[in-house]
């Protein structure tokens, strides 16, 4: 028999087992009312920000162009969230701000996932001194409060979307590294890896078929929870002027510019703030829900 058919046979039962485990997790997630609410909230927000931004409002006309006649108007039927100090439609800016937050957040997470997986996999797989050194470095990074780290990187690289994404992703790398490393360590110690090697499975196949399925759960939980903290940091940094340039609609920078007008135009700070709260809450609920659904010990 050649290697091809052995691999296929080996993944046969593994596949069915994985599918039923997946359904079990989905079932448990669905039982958790808050988690389901978070998921629904998330889907609503995605629809509004991604589709709504294109459909209901126009980028140029509503979010960007200054329209000095309509400055700081409170909510009306034409502008349901009111207008800002340059006459721009707040609703439009909130929607596009949502797109920005989601985009920056996702790219940031993907960057940290990539970096973290590389470091974690190397540490876990090679063990020994490499593992020790890498993990010590990760520990030091974890000891630095994320906001300080992000500020330092922005200080060095300057403002801008790419720099912000790099700055934010660095602080999430250690957590992903730890997860990937521990998954590899767990699997490394198990006999079926030896067995797989014995009948010719190459290392890369071992990683794909055996290690990844176990790792996906905790990684997704960490990714969702990191997403909520990342969105908070994006808006915090933009608020103090160290994030995205103020021309790009972003909730944090909207709040920063609204500060001086807020006494008589409270709508300028209410709506972007609520958007942040909803987005962060959605990710928090999903992350918590996933973590509870995946953890076999959390039964009362």
């Amino acid at each position: 028999m050649n290697n091809q058919s052995i691999t296929i046979e080996a993944t046969g039962p593994v596949m069915t087992k994985r599918q039923s485990l997946f359904m079990l997790i989905v079932k448990r997630y669905m039982k958790n009312k808050l988690a389901v609410f978070g998921l629904i909230l998330f889907m609503i927000l995605v629809v509004i920000f991604v589709l709504g931004a294109g459909l209901f409002v126009d980028y140029e006309a509503d979010a960007i162009r200054h329209n000095m006649e309509y400055r700081n108007k409170p909510p009306t039927s034409a502008h349901i969230f009111g207008t800002d100090q340059y006459g721009r439609d707040v609703f439009a800016r909130v929607l596009y701000g949502g797109r920005v937050s989601l985009f920056v957040g996702i790219v940031t997470i993907l960057l940290s996932l990539a970096g973290g997986s590389l470091i974690g996999a190397t540490a876990g797989y090679f063990g020994g001194k490499t593992d020790n050194i890498l993990m010590r470095i990760m520990d030091v990074f974890l000891a630095i409060p994320s906001i300080l780290l992000a500020i330092s990187i922005v200080a060095a690289l300057g403002n801008g979307m790419l720099n912000l994404m790099i700055a934010l992703s660095v602080s999430s790398v250690p957590r992903f590294a730890r997860i990937v490393r521990s998954c590899i360590l767990t699997v490394k110690g198990q006999d079926f890896v030896e067995a797989a090697r014995a009948y010719g499975c190459r290392d890369r196949k071992i990683i794909t078929y055996h290690i990844l399925p176990n790792a996906i759960g905790p990684i997704i939980v960490q990714a969702t929870l990191s997403m909520s903290t990342t969105i908070l940091m994006i808006s915090s940094l933009s608020f103090v002027g160290l994030g995205l340039p103020s021309s790009i609609p972003e909730w944090g920078s909207m709040l920063a510019s609204a500060k001086e007008y807020m006494r008589y135009s409270p709508h300028l700070i209410i709506f972007p703030g609520i958007a942040i709260v909803l987005a962060v809450m959605a990710f928090n609920l999903i992350g918590d829900g996933l973590r509870d659904a995946l953890d076999p010990k959390l039964r009362n």
């Binding site: 808050l34 470095i137 630095i144 994320s146 200080a155 909520s228 807020m262």
Partner: protein, 302 residues
């Protein structure tokens, strides 16, 4: 164990900041400076030396409390930092204090009355509070209590009233963490076997919570307070912008904008050291309270 971590942090931040493009000497002297003058200044500032040598020299200076001079003013950064640091520290400290005083009892009550309405409500409130960005909460509180009601000043901390709103803002955010963590710690403790033993003795539920459960729950709670402190320092720094408070946060932000690298480096290092020291104190406190760890130390001494 703390020293290598601090050194590591300092190295990482130093390395990151060393990547800043641009020539500090040129920035200081201005556009019209001659190349020769720039070169002389570079020599003086030690900018031509190898990166690691510069790092070692920096650490050496730090140990003598010399954190370098500001690129902007030329004055030692330490004086500016020392005036501002107490403000940020006070905000974080009182913020956490308030959140512990309110949040821990709520968390305990929530755990004891699990599944009750009180529990559901406090969990719900905690959830919402974790999703609210501190600076937005600060803005809203400012709007209502300062601008509209006039109870507190909107800017600065000229009198003690100026501290109230920022401390409350930080406390609310921190409270969410305290409530959730206290609740889950208590829930775990209540399920322990020794609580069952206490019940089998005929101990009343109240005494079980106060005497048997609490001392065991306090230990993880103390650790959580330590971790939370780091987060609150970060939060305090952002909130300084909302309330126009002269603290480390506003200092750091302006220095970043002005590319005043020594100031940025020193501020970050200062805050990082402060957080590490607090965590060290927490660890020591933990070791004195937990009899298991205490006896390890005593055994080691012998």
């Amino acid at each position: 164990m703390m020293i290598p971590v601090i050194l590591g942090i300092s190295l990482i931040i130093f390395t990151i900041l060393a990547l800043t493009p641009g020539d500090p000497a040129q920035m200081i002297l201005g556009e019209n400076a001659s190349l020769k003058d720039i070169e002389i200044l570079r020599e003086e500032m030690g900018l031509n030396e190898h990166f690691l040598i510069r790092y070692v020299k920096y650490i050496g200076n730090v140990l003598r409390f010399n954190f370098g001079n500001s690129y902007r003013t030329g004055l030692p950064v330490i004086s500016e930092i020392l005036t501002r640091f107490p403000n940020t520290l006070a905000l974080a400290f009182f913020g956490i204090g308030l959140s512990v005083v309110i949040g821990v009892p709520i968390g305990i009550a929530s755990a004891v009355k699990q599944y009750s309405i009180f529990d559901t409500v406090s969990l719900g409130v905690a959830l919402i509070m974790t999703s609210i960005p501190a600076f937005w909460l600060g803005l809203m509180l400012l709007l209502v209590f300062s601008l509209n009601l006039g109870w507190f000043p909107a800017i600065g901390i000229t009198n003690w009233k100026g501290f109230i709103l920022p401390i409350v803002t930080l406390a609310i955010g921190s409270m969410a963490v305290m409530i959730r963590m206290t609740r889950s710690t208590m829930l775990e403790v209540i399920r322990e076997d020794y609580i069952r033993t206490a019940r089998a003795k005929g101990t009343s539920e109240g005494r079980i919570i106060r005497y048997h459960a609490l001392r065991n729950a306090l230990l993880p709670i103390i650790t959580i307070i330590g971790i939370n402190f780091g987060l609150q320092m970060g939060g305090a720094m952002i909130c300084e912008t909302v309330f126009s408070i002269p603290g480390m946060g506003s200092l750091m932000i302006t220095s970043v904008r002005q590319k005043d690298i020594p100031m940025v480096m020193a501020s970050v290092l200062f805050v990082a050291i402060a957080i590490s020291l607090i965590n060290l104190l927490i660890d020591i406190l933990y070791a004195t309270i937990d009899p298991r760890i205490k006896s390890q130390y005593e055994k080691a001494k012998r």
